[in-house]
Amino acid sequence: MQATESVIYNRAGQRVVSPEYLLFEAPRTKHFMTGSEAVKEAVRRASVDASVSYPITPQSEAAHLIGELWVEGYVGVYFRGESEFGVMSEIAGCAMAGARTITTTSGPGTLRAFENFPMWAGTRIPVQLVLMARGVNSPLSIQPDNLEVGFLLDTGCMIWYAENAQDLFDMILAGFVVAEQPDVHVPVITVVDGFFVSHTREAIMLPPDDIALPPYNPYRAPMPVIDAEVPPGRFLRDPFVMKSNYISYATHASWQWEVRSAIERSRPYAKRYLKGLIEEFGDPSAELVFVACGTAAAQAKEAVRLLEDEGIKARVVKLKTIRPFPVEELKGAVKNAKYIFVPEFNVVGWLEREVRRYLYGHSDAEVIGSPRVAGGMTMPAEVIVQEVLKLTGKEVKHVL
């Protein structure tokens, strides 16, 4: 914030600063904390109006910590809902009434809430869901597995994927900024892998906690806020909804297109506030490329280091956003690739499908959906290396 500007405080008494200052310029100090605690620290600095919670492992701790922020006065409205279906509807109500709103869930909770996600997008509410991915039933599992993200891809929500606690902290703040742009104004789902990030302590750089994002201004929204302070959005003699006529069909279809277009319009904002939709790691000339997100990207980076010992050059393209999908960035990043490995924490390989779909006709590289682990299995860097050596016909030297 420049010295000439007058100082503004939010309702929690924090000094309001620009998103650019909070994300890129404010001095940061080093802390050691879990991903769940990083959620708390992001929410503390985000001028959040409302949050609704429900218990499910592994996101419960993050939800508890948002409750602590409510007690401390950083969050305006907070309570425990009856189920994820109820919670996501309550969250929708909060956002419709003009609140900056956040919630968290995992695995079976995501599936129970599912009817709400396309409704959020269709209602054009910029809510944020922090998704700590976990296996879905059956059989019962509480372990990390990101199958649920594959289900969410076409709900009309933006989907971002954080690799670690630092990413998560920065993405939560950037998520509100991007989602609330009047020409975007769709929900953002910020994903991390449960346990690997939520429960693991790591070093994280945080700006001071006496500054925060500018509060949400609901009157910039493209839809009328439901607060009886602005004229209502609909008062029609002849409602188009549910009429069996062409206008009705065209209205529904064009609205769905508009939601997808809104996600497309988020690209320049996401590029700015995430510093690019992808992150590249390793030797730019390498023919062996890992395309990954989240913990799989972190493990692939370790594998790149091990492969160096094997005399093989490799690199990682980490996708920070899945919706919008970083099409042009990925095409550019795999220009020289001969092999593209897509390591994933789920059995279906939804990211491999996405990579194949967007690179079809644009890359001669062989796309290999491997290694793939699920149900809580870890993905040691050594396993990635073994898989790479086996599938590319190279001899295993050091790794066993």
């Binding site: 409302a50 305006g76 909060c94 209602t123 008062f235 409602p239």
Partner: protein, 286 residues
């Protein structure tokens, strides 16, 4: 007071449709004493409706909208069904969200409006059918009562899923034959008014909409009590004349008959609610 949002820009007055101009000049805003007796003389907050001719639910909607003590600060939340066909015709802030999540959405709206406007009263009223309230939405309905959300829940009980073509609901009477109950319903009608009392509602009423004035009194009591005390519940019989094989002009007679039996007027008032109702009577608002 936000009824100013209905004031039209002077330069546009001559091109605005009559019904929009009527909203500014002939509707009853800012008058808590408004009621069903205004219906013939003022602009209604509901435009033409798209329900069947003679549908008692359309009567219920007109009486309710005429009775809201503060329509300019009222948010209405609904669910999917016959009622959702009417919502685009209502001149207030209305929300249609999903199937059965109306009380959850209303909870979020009410809490945020209290936080955003601590010095104003914003009424949140839920209007939904029996399927939405008691079957698919039962969880959200009851949980909002348990949490003591300050919202008014109004159930249009037509004892059937009407909009989907006449299937048995939890509020269908035992023995009645509908689709999905081809041998007749095997279990009793859910006494939801009683469940609402046991679940923490402070004002509960069960009635038909045969008497407009009585509907007005009940709606006003329910909204005033919800403002100050906690959840309130109104159970209205609005028969689906189509599904029970009646003519368009039979709805009123059907309700008058049920007034004497399973929809005999019933009212529950908690001690805290009594105090509010007495005070509003003294203020001449009831």
């Amino acid at each position: 007071m936000s009824y100013k949002i209905y004031e039209i820009n002077e330069d546009l007055l001559d091109v605005m449709p009559q019904e929009i101009r009527d909203l500014q000049f002939r509707a009853t805003w800012g008058n808590p004493k408004r009621g069903v007796m205004d219906l013939p003389y003022s602009k209604e907050l509901i435009e033409e409706h798209s329900l069947c001719a003679g549908c008692p639910e359309s009567m219920a909607l007109r009486y309710i909208l005429a009775s809201l003590p503060s329509p300019e600060d009222t948010i209405i939340v609904n669910s999917t069904g016959c009622t959702s066909l009417v919502f685009p015709h209502i001149a207030l802030h209305t929300v249609h969200s999903l199937f059965g999540n109306q009380n959850a959405v209303a909870s979020g709206i009410k809490r945020v409006l209290e936080w955003r406007f601590p010095d104003k009263v914003k009424d949140v009223v839920v209007l939904a059918g029996d399927g939405a309230t008691v079957d698919i939405g039962l969880d959200c309905t009851l949980q909002s009562f348990f949490r003591q959300e300050k919202i008014t829940t109004i159930c249009f009980d037509n004892e059937v899923y009407a909009n989907t073509g006449g299937q048995e609901s939890g509020l269908t009477v035992k023995g009645h034959v509908f689709k999905m109950a081809p041998k007749g319903k095997q279990w009793d009608k859910v006494p939801f008014w009683q469940i609402a009392i046991d679940s923490g509602c402070h004002y509960v009423a069960r009635l038909t909409v045969s008497s407009p004035k009585r509907v007005e009194t009940v709606i006003k009591k329910a909204i005033y009590v919800a403002r100050e005390v906690g959840p309130t519940y109104v159970h209205l019989y609005t028969p689906c004349i189509l599904e029970i094989g009646l003519n368009s002009d039979d709805g009123l007679d059907e309700m008058r008959q049920r007034d004497k039996e399973r929809f005999a007027f019933f009212e529950y008032v908690s001690d805290a609610a009594k105090e509010v109702i007495e005070r509003k009577k003294e203020e001449g608002l009831l």
